[in-house]
């Protein structure tokens, strides 16, 4: 890993190598199964879960339908509360705004609360290029940063690492960034946490600028909300003099009352807790308490384009709980890096090709990174029908069609590399619509069945590398029916 998702191979190639990594598979299996079992118990405690889920989806849908209205209301509220609002059309613009805001403080170091939006924009790298060091303070993000690695899970970015690997990273890398790890550091979780705590405390106490994301933004009051477990977020949100929050525009909710729904849905789906340990809320600035200056950077980066798609827009309901990752059998085997973006797993497979488009080979492969088993839809706390969107995006990849890119309606051409498949699908479509042709094919297969090779060439090879094909029977069902029962009986 080199700290960027750019230039990564298409999903099947990346997954082919990660599935060979026994340690990675072990780490992922252990972590995802533990959390999925806990989540199921936490959700089962609430008898109105189905109604909460429907309410969450409804609030998100209603807000998205009137997104322009709520964002303007949010801007007014934030401004009235003493904050400043900046609008960023894409990742580069968001990063440039943040870099400028940090430079204006005269600081060269910032502490960060874990934020998916800034992972999406690659902010740390952009800040480094501007001569600014960004320190991640979430334990798992710290592990990823120290290891010059990439996050591979939304909730547990270092899910692919076990304790021994983390101890080695701390021992070898902490000194480079600040307070070193103790020489005799063991791989006991308490010892690892203590080493991280001591290392991070220095950062919290010296940083003048904090950067965060937000789980929710309340339009009506201009309040931002961060939900977290470790308390590092609370430190970053309250200790620095300047706070810069980078938030996707879909995170807005109309009122405080709406939080009631999401603060039940999110922790149980995400960490399997009844309530997360820290819920921090801040509204602009307040004299004598917390940051003196507050900036809100509202990030579009493909979100309004996604909103323009009536099927795909449901992906914008996502509250980043990661429940879909933890139940996904594909994620469990392939690992998060194979998805090549900040958003791995089933939600990444539908969100990334919408935010970034399907032009690259990787992005065009993501809608196919699923067996359509439906487990993700079943656990999603805001009822995103991920399989529906996957199929919808597959259609976009192979057939092209009308899409909105950067606010402009355009017609997408089919992706390259699907010509043979398209021909095969058309041929199958023809045969299926002409039962005579289908029967002729079946008879040919039956007559030549002793000649069928055990291993197939071409695309079929992928099948016969690990599986035996069933033998073709001597007689198809329809031939058996005709032979024994004659043509269709009188009705």
């Amino acid at each position: 890993m080199s700290g960027t998702y750019l230039g990564m191979p298409a999903f099947p190639a990346a997954a082919a190598s990660s599935t060979q990594d026994a340690r990675l598979r072990g780490n992922l299996r252990h972590a995802t199964h533990t959390i999925r079992d806990k989540r199921a118990k936490a959700v089962a405690e609430l008898d109105d879960w189905a109604r909460l889920r429907a309410a969450g989806a409804a609030v998100k849908d209603r807000t998205l339908r009137h997104l322009d209205h709520y964002l303007e209301q949010l801007e007014e509220s934030v401004t009235a509360a003493g904050g400043q609002v900046h609008w960023a059309a894409d990742a580069a613009e968001a990063n440039a705004i943040v870099a400028r805001l940090v430079r204006e403080t005269g600081e060269r170091e910032v502490v960060k609360v874990k934020s998916m939006a800034t992972q999406e924009t690659g902010l740390n790298r952009a800040l480094a290029e501007a001569g600014i060091s960004a320190y991640e303070t979430d334990l798992a993000e710290l592990i990823v940063q120290l290891g010059d690695d990439l996050p591979s899970h939304i909730l547990v970015p270092a899910i692919h690492r076990n304790r021994g690997e983390i101890r080695d990273i701390f021992r070898e890398q902490m000194a480079r960034w600040g307070r070193p790890a103790p020489d005799d550091l063991s791989d006991a979780p308490a010892a690892l946490a203590e080493a991280a705590r001591l290392h991070l405390r220095e950062k919290f106490l010296t940083a003048k600028v904090g950067i965060s994301g937000a789980n929710f933004m309340v339009a009506d009051t201009g309040t931002l909300v961060v939900v977290e477990s470790e308390g590092n977020g609370r430190m970053c949100l309250t200790l620095p003099e300047t706070l810069i929050s980078v938030v996707g525009i879909e995170k807005v909710v109309p009122t405080w009352q709406d939080l009631e729904i999401f603060l039940q849905l999110l922790p149980r789906s995400s960490t399997a807790e009844r309530m997360n340990p820290y819920t921090s809320m801040w509204t602009g600035t307040t004299d004598g308490d917390g940051p003196r200056t507050f900036h809100l950077v509202l990030l579009d980066n493909g979100r309004t384009d996604t909103l323009a798609d009536t099927v795909g827009r449901q992906a914008l309901r996502c509250i980043r709980c990661s429940a879909c990752l933890n139940v996904c059998p594909v994620y469990e085997r392939a690992g998060g890096h194979a998805y090549g973006s900040a958003y791995p797993g089933p939600i990444g497979a539908i969100l990334t090709p919408q935010l970034r488009g399907t032009a690259s080979e990787l992005d065009a492969s993501l809608p196919y990174a699923s067996s359509l088993c439906g487990a993700c839809y079943e656990v999603c706390p805001v009822a995103i029908d991920i399989p529906e969107v996957l199929v919808h995006l597959r259609e976009r990849v192979v057939q092209g069609g009308r899409v909105t890119r950067r606010g402009v309606k355009t017609v997408l051409k089919p992706a390259k590399g699907h010509a043979a498949e398209r021909a095969a699908m058309r041929a199958a479509g023809f045969a299926f619509d002409h039962p005579g042709a289908l029967r002729a094919g079946q008879r040919l297969a039956a007559r030549t069945r002793r000649l069928h090779p055990r291993r197939l060439p071409g695309p079929g090879r992928a099948w016969t590398d690990t599986r035996d094909l069933p033998p073709v029977p001597a007689e198809s069902f329809r031939d058996w029916w005709r032979r024994t029962r004659g043509e269709e009986r009188a009705k």
Binding site: S370, V391, V398, A462, D465, D468, P470, E475, F477, E488
Partner: protein, 264 residues
Amino acid sequence: MRVALFVTCINDTLYPDTGRAVITLLERLGVEVGFPAEQSCCGQPQFNTGYRHLTEPLVHRFDRAFADYDYVVTPSASCAAMVRDNYPRIAAKAEAEGRAGRELARAAASAVPKTYELTEFLTDVLKVTDVGAYYPHTVTYHPTCHGLRMLGLGDRPRRLLERVRGLELRELPGAEECCGFGGTFAVKNPAVSAAMGADKARAVLETGAEAVCTVDNSCLMHIGGTLRRQGAAARPVHIAEILAATEADAREPSRARATEGSPR
């Protein structure tokens, strides 16, 4: 009650025994079953791979083939789910795109309510769980994803299996996890598909059961193909073939297997 068998393309071509088992079973229960030759594929391979427009003629075909029947019974949860969940979507989208009028919507609307997966038909329409079957083997049941999550079959297959005399049902560890077939997924993402299949095969072997049973031959093709490549003894068997089996078959195994394709 006019009942038609929708055998599905995969069963028609590769697993005719399953279609024959459905006929045997339903006729034993006193149901007269027709097989309209005009039927073909539900269109799922095309639909799930992104070729929705190619499925539109198949929606019409399905409607035409089964127009004269009250019920369409299929030994495939996946294909039943395709008809019930996706035909209305296909019609709605085609209409929105101006490629089809009300006719496609009418075809979909006529197909949806009468299409039943086999175990649903037995438990919900015929209201039987004891189908008089005898199958003296240990069996583990894998609830396929589309049966479990799209159709919501729940414990219907299990209720049927529990009434089969001689059958010992063994719990499958991680039963609700996908086996990794996923139609063209198995070809497009072979490494992940194979890894999922290997884990499922291991779970099957852990049960020590003689057979693994599902409501879908497509999943069984994948699980069974993996087991067979490993030289494992556990064999794949469609639930219809278990439910159709009787003591006479057990006495004369050749009778039940007489028409089966010869093994290679």
